[in-house]
């Protein structure tokens, strides 16, 4: 009796977590698969039973050039922002190792503040900073002699819309990169550097030949996380679209699915499109998970 209890106890402990995950994630996942093979639009919202349409939804999506525009746009945005974030974050981390404690603490506190801000609050502040009439950014640019920025609306043109979105996302994401890379840098033994210095290696050579190879694992994992997170930016784009009033030219995958499903009631199509996001992010995540599992003995 006791042995039996001992053997089933771990499973009993897992039950609550598993039930919640099955209900809130597992079931929708199945539902999403089913719905993506159905005609599930406004008529179904009003009670008509959904109709099986096989691969129709997927076919419509794949042959729709707009979807590909959105996918390409998302990938491009993600890559540019991820690269800029990584470069800036790593540069800040290196800078932290090169300065005294007071300056370093100042920088770290500033980064922590930006990192801690709730996304919605950050987005709201940035809208105010970029405000056409009374925003500080236009004021500074005009003050620098760039007269064309007087009263300039940033969010009504796709390119400058994505510049604003990119600035906001980078501002939010750099702190995490900087802190993680800095933690990696402090693990690099200083005698390696000293030895290389004695052998006549320049600061640049030491950075590329000693530091970078040693912190490569951290860079890889942080970079991967950035790509995963930047691929699925939803909140930032959605809120800025609200503010700027253009959606079609600025949709990324997340907002596209939202507008297709919740906005237009085309749930079948939206469900099919969701698989793009899901498979892309989960596929990328598998690398991450493999790495984590290898690092930590589970």
């Amino acid at each position: 009796m006791h042995a039996l209890r001992g053997r089933s106890l771990p499973y009993a402990l897992l039950v609550p977590a598993v039930v919640v995950l099955l209900a809130a994630l597992g079931y929708p996942l199945v539902r999403q698969a089913v719905m993506s093979f159905q005609e599930y639009g406004l008529a179904q919202q009003f009670g008509r039973p959904p109709e099986w349409v096989g691969l129709d939804n997927y076919e419509r999506l794949v042959t729709d050039s707009y979807l590909w525009t959105v996918v390409l746009r998302s990938i491009l945005f993600c890559l540019v922002v991820a690269v800029v974030t990584m470069v800036l974050g790593t540069a800040l981390a290196v800078l932290m190792t090169a300065i005294g404690k007071p300056a370093r603490l100042t920088l770290q506190i500033a980064l922590l503040l930006a990192w801690a801000m709730p996304h919605l609050a950050s987005l709201t502040v940035w809208q105010w900073l970029f405000d056409a009439q009374y925003g500080v950014i236009n004021w500074v640019l005009t003050g620098l002699g760039l007269e064309q920025f007087a009263g300039h609306s940033w969010l009504i043109n796709p390119l400058s819309f994505f510049i604003v979105a990119g600035v906001v996302v980078t501002w939010m994401s750099v702190p995490f990169v900087a802190f993680s890379v800095y933690a990696g840098l402090t693990q690099v033994p200083s005698d390696l550097h000293e030895a290389a210095e004695i052998d006549g290696a320049s600061a640049r050579q030491r950075f590329w030949r000693i530091t970078v190879p040693l912190i490569r694992p951290v860079l890889l994992i942080v970079g991967l996380l950035q790509i995963i997170w930047d691929l699925k930016v939803f909140t930032q784009i959605f809120v800025l679209q609200d503010a700027g009033g253009i959606t079609r030219e600025t949709n990324l995958i997340g907002t596209y699915i939202y507008r297709l499903g919740i906005g237009e009631g085309q749930f079948g199509l939206a469900a099919a499109a969701s698989w793009f996001v899901l498979l892309l992010t989960v596929g990328l995540s598998l690398f991450y998970v493999r790495h984590v599992v290898r690092e930590e003995e589970v």
Binding site: Y11, V20, F176
Partner: protein, 270 residues
């Protein structure tokens, strides 16, 4: 000399990075005529009436909803995750590794990849616009990382301690409550704060699931409040942002170190 130059650069960058946060606080403490002025005012005059306008603008209703959903999420997620973490780190059983794998993969699922069918699911269960529905989704979002986080802490408590307590005549339950649980307090605190931050800040699911205007969590409320007042009242909007951000910043600073370590070695949803 060189070092000093770098220090100056670091301080300049710090000012740039913190500026939006400063600007939020500064603008929230300015009167109308300073806000609606092409020449910006860089130091607050200490007007607090913007906060009054926020309180009249539906802030408390949103606060109430956010607080309830957050409390439920933190409590339930922490309990469920703790039980699962115990199972994973204190027992060897078939399927253990797969469960850990699953936990790691699941937490990378983006809200955007699933919110359409989650919406349909809650609609079918008549849980749209309900605290229970939103909490359910949040708990499922938070549980995986919390399991991962707590697993590390439970493993950090040596089994020998518990066994010693058993030898000294404690029952298993007593040993758990007297020895293990107190040692796990920091882990539970970190997990709780993580859950708090997620539930308090989350926007996408709240937007999708809580469609009714009277049913807003704080982030969704801030969005509509901004839309309604963008032309006239940036001071009020900034005051709203400050009110949402301050508790988050405080909690975040408390657990940041632990979470960063967890992020790189574990995983977390951004």
């Amino acid at each position: 000399m060189r070092r000093r130059l770098w220090s100056v650069l670091a301080v300049v960058l710090a000012v740039l990075w913190a500026f939006p946060v400063y600007w939020m606080i500064n603008s929230s403490l300015l009167p109308y005529n300073k806000i609606r002025n092409p020449e910006p005012t860089f130091f607050p005059t200490g007007e607090t009436e913007a906060y009054g306008r926020v309180f009249d603008g539906g802030f408390f209703e949103a606060l109430r909803l956010s607080a309830i959903v957050t409390l439920i999420t933190v409590g339930v997620a922490l309990l469920f995750a703790f039980l699962a973490a115990l199972a994973v780190s204190r027992f060897r059983f078939r399927g253990r590794r797969s469960f850990v794998y699953l936990v790691l993969v699941i937490q990378m699922i983006p809200a955007e990849g699933l919110f359409i069918s989650q919406y349909k699911m809650l609609e079918g269960w008549e849980l749209l616009n309900s605290i229970a529905g939103l909490s359910l989704l949040y708990i499922a979002t938070v549980v995986p990382f919390t399991v991962w986080l707590l697993r590390g802490f439970v493993e950090g408590v040596p089994r020998e301690l518990e066994e010693a307590a058993l030898v000294d005549g404690c029952t298993r339950t007593q040993a758990f409550f007297r020895i293990t649980l107190p040692l796990l307090a920091p882990g539970l605190a970190a997990g709780g704060v993580y859950a708090f931050l997620q539930a308090w800040n989350e926007f996408a699911l709240a937007l999708v699931v809580m469609g009714r205007p009277e049913n807003k969590t704080l982030p969704v409320w801030l969005r509509t409040f901004t839309e309604a007042n963008r032309v006239s009242d940036w001071a009020g909007i900034m005051a709203g942002s400050v009110l949402i951000a301050v508790p988050v910043i405080i909690f975040f600073l408390l657990v940041q170190r632990r979470m960063t370590a967890g992020l790189v070695s574990g995983a977390v949803k951004g």
